[in-house]
Symmetry: C2
Subunit: 361 residues, 2 copies
């Protein structure tokens, strides 16, 4: 029997309540597939600031280091927005964890589930043609982490600067992630860049084309970031895997999430070279609905499934969760975010949805 | 009687044929409003590469310097895509002109005209709520022009870098453009940044807030670029003026253009401190439909209207063109891009639309 340590960082807002449901589902697969999990809770984000004075306390980081993977909830909220940027949950915890564990490969799947087309903000004939994209975003380099960054000069000539920076090695490893993923999906990679303006994008294109040679069965296309934001709205079904740098992936993955219209269903994975990873819902901490028991737990549950699949290689257990989620949606066991205004009275609570999924496993 | 020199740079693809129509309309306002234009044609883009070996020949630049404004068509096409980046039409002509004339203020209006809602790729209930945005994009700084930019190192550690850079002065002048524009429109500025990651965005926010103090009647909101791409799809009617840096404005303005679904109607202006400007359609050179007489000339005609309004201060003439365009659309005098598949037989040609607009003036 396999035995895993998982660091559970529920965080702020709806994080804790959806995490309860993910734990239920992990308990169910534990029984069914004879996998044992040690789930160790640690404070992170605003909660950790309140309890320990910083968003990523040493004990939390140590707990993550001693685990096979991190199951992350969500962090941040108005309460901590006035802190200096460097201390805020997003930078002090989220970006810090990405950097510390070299989680360079960020996988953000976004698809429209059958029956939920009407939630897409796209025109009915466009959403009907289908949407199932995996955004593969480089997560530990580019303009987020490039040095130098700073502020210089005086008066009106004072200027700020940030450095976008990519090495061949950094581009190659994320490109390989994208091609590997495409090979298991629609066999198409669309690489997003701004090669008509950025030197980084030119090197990006060069390395991506080198990597593509090792994947003759995968089609490669290049698209400029400005055109990508247009094509995603006009004809989103043309895309399979979208390979992006850190900044462009931030933008494209959010646009893809919104195109599905069902952000409460979208998980994400951030993985390093050793398949250690951090798994979290694509949506935010949603402080406005926190504590009401109405948040959709599925993104958190599917994040647990990605954890099983990518960090633990427990494919059968991950497949079981994914199938249970599809069945739950098909059975119309839905939280309010997935119901039209006239059907809100049919809404199930966070825990009812979690119970249903766990029971199916 | 006013007398103006206008440099006309029709360029490639559909540029020349839509420019013919803009000239017709300028001839009509010349008569009606007693304004005299010297329209001087110069080669630019691929055409100039073919005729003179470079995308922006000295004679063209001189011609622009001797004019009150530039009316620009569109440039580029597959024929010149294999040239080294520095020689290609986009960089060697478009970015060069922006830089040479310090055209820092790029105005890109995007709206859904009444009756054309069905062309928006957004869901009917969303496009019905209306969309009328002015993107104000900084055009001569940021990561497009920031130094240093380059390639260093060897082997897998070879790296590329680009510098995003903004001074207070540069931010202030574009923010003032945005607030001035908002004051004449919906009185709301949404400033787009990534202040949770970029030092440039933090300075951006600081200066924008300073400028806002001089416009107490204009509401200011800040939004992260990733969230902006989402909100534009979910609830686009919340925006009035969107104030963006160079790179973010490139992305946001294209997304806005696509949301209208009628790119053939969208003009743009790129203006400097002295109101000298370059005016061009938002769409590209569309080589696939060039020479067929089916391209929509309205974006080019409205670019001429913006030229009259912003560089020549000929407001009555500009108003007359805008009104004639609205009437033409209302009268269903439309090129094929604005007709559904069943109505294509009703399509008017490029010159029929131009004639109709000119006749109305
Ligand atoms: C919170 C923020 C720093 C972060 C990012 O930009 O990476 C978020 O938008 C994301 O996409 O995970
Ligand atoms: C052609 C390209 C360099 C240009 C830009 O990125 O500015 C274009 O996309 C635009 O928006 O005018």
């Amino acid at each position: 029997m396999s035995d895993y340590n998982i660091a559970v960082l529920a965080g702020d807002g709806i994080g804790p309540e959806v995490m309860v449901e993910a734990k239920k589902v992990l308990a169910a697969v534990s029984k069914k597939f004879d996998i044992s999990f040690q789930l160790n809770d640690f404070d992170v984000g605003g909660l950790a600031i309140d309890n320990h004075g910083k968003a990523l306390p040493a004990a939390t980081l140590k707990g993550c280091e001693d685990s096979s993977a991190i199951l992350f909830g969500s962090i941040g909220g108005p309460k901590w927005d006035s802190l200096p940027l460097e201390e805020r949950p997003e930078r002090a915890a989220l970006l810090a964890l990405r950097e510390h564990f070299d989680l360079f490969s960020n996988l953000r799947p976004a698809k429209i589930y059958p029956g939920l087309e009407a939630f897409s903000p796209l025109r009915a004939d466009i959403s009907a043609s289908g949407f199932d994209v995996l955004v593969v975003r480089e997560l530990t380099s580019g303009i987020y982490f490039g040095q130098p960054k700073g502020l210089e000069g005086e008066g009106e000539e004072q200027f700020a600067y940030d450095t976008m920076r990519y090495s061949k090695r950094e581009i190659r490893r994320i490109a390989i992630s994208a091609f590997n993923a495409a090979q298991k999906r629609g066999k198409k990679v669309t690489s997003v860049d701004k090669a008509n303006v950025l030197v980084c994008s030119r090197l990006w294109r060069e390395v991506v084309e080198e990597v593509a040679k090792d994947y003759p069965e995968v089609e490669l296309e290049h698209i400029y970031i400005d055109n990508a934001t247009m094509q995603l709205i006009r004809n989103p079904s043309q895309f399979d895997v979208m390979l992006c740098s850190n900044l462009f992936g931030d933008i494209i993955s959010d646009e893809c999430a919104m195109i599905t219209g069902s952000m409460g269903l979208l998980p994400s994975a951030s993985i390093n070279q050793d398949n250690f990873g951090m798994y979290e819902p694509a949506g935010g901490s949603a402080p406005d609905i926190a504590g009401k028991g109405i948040a959709n737990p599925i993104a958190q549950i599917l994040s647990a499934s990605m954890l099983l699949r990518f960090s633990l290689n427990e494919t059968a257990a991950a497949d079981a969760i994914d199938a249970a989620v599809v069945k739950t949606l098909g059975d119309s066991i839905l939280t309010g975010d997935l119901l039209g205004p006239d059907e809100r009275h049919l809404a199930k609570s966070t825990s009812e949805v979690g119970d249903y999924i766990a029971a199916l496993i």
